[in-house]
């Protein structure tokens, strides 16, 4: 049964003393990952030290979430699930914040 | 020895400097309509208007310009032209005068002038991303610089004649730069406005110094 709410599917692993975190969320806003949401996603990602990546499938291909041009080119529509993965000291909060941003519909609606 | 050679022997005094600036400004302003007509044939149609605006500003500032050392005056003229002329020729003429002012020593010899002029031409080439043969002011400036570098008798007269014929020779060239380049073959048969305006300036200077 399809899940209308964004699902939070978080794993934390401690590997080589680096925190890794993954999660995903479904785009709910009308324009999906259009220009302004993609700018906000990038700006949010840049607040964190961790390496942050986005993909449209659980095994990638992964795109740097801090790259404005690359994120703008993802062009995912409403209903598409965005996968996030992060590695670094604040990986967990980074992934949580990105998921929250998607759940909040990028504070646009 | 004509006036151009004499530049090497005497200071360019305030009177001479003033006369040079006045004459160049006047010739451009007086030919504004002709330059506009040339530019209407193959360009934006504003070369005369733009240059007139720039040299009106030069004329308005003549007292200050005549009183400054020559290099400073040239830099000041260059700045005025950049700020006031606009279009494509503002940056080009501005660069020409600014670089001349930067390179020329206060009491230039003819060799100084030829060398500084060469550097100013290189700066214009870089600014406009062009070379001689592309139907621009460079087609006048480059041969003029050659004559200055070679020196010889009747320098002012020969330099003026070379400028005039070089401008006329652009008539046969096809434009590859600027708006005229979009006309392709249709740009042939028209004298380039920038070549004409630079020739007018060179001829005016040679006229003042030729006596």
């Amino acid at each position: 049964m399809p899940d209308d709410k964004a699902t939070l599917d978080r794993e934390e692993e401690e590997r080589d003393d680096v925190t890794h975190s993954t999660a995903s969320a479904v785009l709910e806003n009308e324009v999906g990952l259009h220009a302004r949401p993609s700018v906000k996603l990038t700006q949010t990602a840049k607040r964190f030290a961790a390496k942050l990546e986005v993909a449209l499938a659980v095994d990638g291909p992964w795109v740097d979430a801090k790259s404005p041009v690359k994120i703008m080119r993802v062009k995912a529509s409403k209903g598409v699930r965005l996968h996030f993965r992060a590695s670094g000291p604040d990986a967990d909060s980074a992934v949580r914040e990105l998921v929250s941003l998607v759940e909040r519909k990028f504070d646009e609606e | 020895m004509d006036g151009l050679e004499q530049v090497a022997e005497h200071r360019v005094d305030q009177t001479l400097q003033r006369r040079l600036i006045e004459t160049v400004a006047s010739v451009v302003i007086d030919h504004a309509d002709e330059l506009t007509a040339l530019d209407q044939a193959i360009g934006d149609g504003d070369h005369g208007i733009n240059l007139k605006r720039g040299f009106d500003a030069v004329r308005a500032d003549i007292d200050k310009l005549a009183a400054q050392p020559l290099p400073d005056a040239l830099k000041a003229i260059g700045t005025l032209l950049v700020m006031k002329v606009g279009g494509a020729s503002g940056p080009l003429y501005g660069t020409l005068f600014l670089t001349l002012g930067k390179e020329l020593p206060p009491n230039p010899t003819l060799a100084d002038l030829a060398q500084s002029f060469a550097k100013a031409i290189e700066a214009v080439k870089a600014r406009g991303k062009s070379t001689a043969g592309q139907k621009t002011m460079l087609d006048v400036l480059v041969p003029v610089q050659s004559i200055l570098a070679e020196r010889g008798i009747n320098l002012a007269a020969r330099t003026a004649a070379a400028a005039a014929s070089a401008a006329e020779a652009t008539r046969g060239l096809r434009a590859v730069r600027g708006r005229a380049s979009f006309l392709g073959e249709r740009s042939v048969g028209h004298v380039d406005p920038g070549a004409r305006s630079s020739a007018l300036m060179v001829m005016a200077i040679c006229h003042v110094l030729g006596g």
């Binding site: 302004r36 801090k66 041009v69 | 950049v82």
Partner: protein, 129 residues
């Protein structure tokens, strides 16, 4: 350190202003932004003095990137940079990028605190297909 400033130069005053509006709306207010559009008579074209003034308004200790539309805008922007004080010249760069999208991408990169070279590179990434 402050964020890199963004200057938009267009032949059209409306495009220049509109692009700056878009940047502010999409990226927010933590990036210095200024624009210059039109010639001295208010018609289509670009004006060196106006570009210099825009660089002044968007000035940041982190430097400034300049986005331009067509040829004349680039030439006049280069001219404007050469007429700045020597200490500032090296800190202002013209980007090879589409003017509107480049400004948005550059501002996004700048809002994250990236240095001048990275902001320029991000804008220019748009030219690679």
């Amino acid at each position: 350190m402050a964020n890199v400033g963004i200057v938009i130069v267009s032949h059209s005053p409306k495009v220049a202003e509109g692009a700056a509006d878009m940047v502010r709306q999409m990226v927010g207010d933590n990036v210095p932004i200024a624009y210059a559009g039109g010639n001295a008579d208010g018609g289509l074209g670009t004006d060196v003095g106006a570009i210099m003034a825009a660089i002044e308004r968007a000035w940041s200790s982190a430097g400034v990137v300049v986005l331009v539309d067509l040829g004349g805008a680039e030439t006049n922007s280069e001219m404007a940079i050469e007429m700045l004080p020597a200490s500032r010249q090296k800190r202002v760069v013209v980007c090879n990028a589409p003017v509107v999208e480049g400004a948005v991408m550059a501002a996004t990169e700048s809002s994250g605190g990236s240095p001048l070279e990275v902001v320029k590179r991000t804008a220019e990434e748009l030219m690679a297909s």
